[in-house]
Point group: C2
Chain length 407, copies 2
Amino acid sequence: MNIAIAQSGGPTCAINASLVGVFKQGLLTEEIDAIFGSINGIEGIINDELLNLKSIIRTNEDMELLRQTPSTMLGSCRCKLPEYDQKPEIYEKILNTFRIHRISIFVYIGGNDSMDTVVKLSAYLKSIDSDIKVIGVPKTIDNDLPVTDHTPGFGSAAKYVSATVQEIIRDSSVYSIPSVTIIEIMGRHAGWLTASTCVLRANGEEAPHLIYLPESDFHPEQFIEDTRKEMAKHKAVIIAVSEGVSLLDENSSDFQSGAVDNFGHKYLSGVGKYLERLVAENIGCKVRSIELNVMQRCSSHICSKTDIDEAERIGRHALSAALNGETGKMMYFRRVSDMPYAVTIEMTDAVNTANLEKMFPKEWISAEQNQVTDAAIPYFLPLIQGEVNILMKNGLPVHFQRPLQMR
Amino acid sequence: MNIAIAQSGGPTCAINASLVGVFKQGLLTEEIDAIFGSINGIEGIINDELLNLKSIIRTNEDMELLRQTPSTMLGSCRCKLPEYDQKPEIYEKILNTFRIHRISIFVYIGGNDSMDTVVKLSAYLKSIDSDIKVIGVPKTIDNDLPVTDHTPGFGSAAKYVSATVQEIIRDSSVYSIPSVTIIEIMGRHAGWLTASTCVLRANGEEAPHLIYLPESDFHPEQFIEDTRKEMAKHKAVIIAVSEGVSLLDENSSDFQSGAVDNFGHKYLSGVGKYLERLVAENIGCKVRSIELNVMQRCSSHICSKTDIDEAERIGRHALSAALNGETGKMMYFRRVSDMPYAVTIEMTDAVNTANLEKMFPKEWISAEQNQVTDAAIPYFLPLIQGEVNILMKNGLPVHFQRPLQMR
């Protein structure tokens, strides 16, 4: 029997570790012959663009290197499967690829859109009495998938963000004049990654002095008021804000579209720049905004060992589940204990996570809506523990190089 | 005899290592009693705000922690000394602080503005027949100080930038559609840091496919043409650009001031955003710009061991030089050999570096003005070698905490 693996959605530091997990478990399973990698997520299955992974990942060193290489080795897609009724030919193309290559198991590593694919594809295969199994492996730096305690990829992103915010705290406090530094962190709907900066308190940092999430009520006047209060206490005020913070003020609703550049085009700036201007206008002090941008999802040089190890482990479990006859499921982590940290790997119907989002808990947001409470720290802390021994060459991390046909 | 140390200019990852170097050498020198740290550069000397460093840096562990803590432990300033004729009272205040605390040696760690202070202050002290010695220790991530082969702080910034660009290369190449990613790197006048991304070739990377520096001729039409050419060869084109690239096109000269936001204020965007819009308008493909921002100068979690060790070493030499009676000098590195890498530490009159800039050599810029030639690689490569064993706690780097009165 053969199997296929694909990766989908936005890149993370851990999505290749999950690929390695499925691959390793495949090598260990006697009845599995070929292990195919699908190029660019489900697109590769639809278009019959597969790679023979055994010819690409050849040694233990290759596997270790791939585990510590960020982004998706097999490429990715943002493609959502249509309903069967609307485009049956897509499903027939998928089935055709599975049949040509005698693929009995398809493991899809991705976020909630990918789980939607797991739901639709497994239902279709069941409806035609096919024995082909489809299993989902979660991944997203946003940590917003329901059911699972957390998602592979999140721990590494959180470690990068908190380590970087700590360095920005040092950088921001050198001059004698008062200043405000605003750090914009990914998370359009869910504030997990921004909230995770509360872990700095475990190392004695007071900053970020203010934390705003999409889940907290945000009012520009209150923001200015909060900032003034913190400036009375700290020379260099540090503010962490999610890119998706909801601006309730009617004037500010166009913060992403109001500015026009000298070509007459609308200027798309983020919430960080918007808040920077609010501070400049209303307080008039030194102010800077910093966007952590894609570095949040690809800075594997400071990835979390816990995250990378778990990502591999959940990949292995996914293949085992499929071999046990499961289909239409997503693997997930159930937390047994914060300290000592322990999780088990379980499975749930993928329909319980597809297209759904898990928000940061309201009870971990301060009454003032501008901080995360200490109760959140034991949740985040285990996820950023441990460092991967990064292979270096010429003073730089070494990355697994994709096969030539993919560059 | 007592000595004083101060740090000045923009933060780097190595400026605290130079402080440790002076401090360690001070501990080893029998005739030195108190070692003072001046708060916020020369301001602390002017205003008599000194710390007793021996009571703050108490153990070998403290020294090691301080070596790996980014930014300036003693704070910084952007203060340039006036000429003596214009404000003699400033010089008298400085002399007063030196006399009250019996300070015989003042070591100033900073960039070319700080070397201007070394020149003026040492000349003043000589003119009044004072025996007090003033020595400069270079530091800047811009690597733009004359005379010295390179500056402490640059190697760590270059290592962070190249490691991060490599990760962005992985991140940018996941989707099947063509894309352009523009990475804006610090350097208002000198392109050293942007140019240093050529080291990625040593690890087999082809990207950045285009590198634009302040020292290269830049024409927007040629930039679009260059980008189109690279798009014909690569699915995901990566462009590294210095923040200070000179825009020769008369229309584009106002790229930093033309946009007006919905508050009617001019919108200050950088060259990255400007080039992003150029690509969007002229090519119309997927395009993203990324600003590496202050992370370039404070990401000590991936600092260069070579840089940190050299920064400490040059600090030790600075104090030795002062003890040998030198004054008005800046310490510098003279490169003996690229491979094996070897430098000696020398000194020059600070006037040779004060207020001067060293540009990236024209002969290392390609004829097309859009790349750095391979000849630059042996220059950069030794500077990013080696990793510091970063002390971690709770999954995060530990930083040296400043004394309470400085927070």
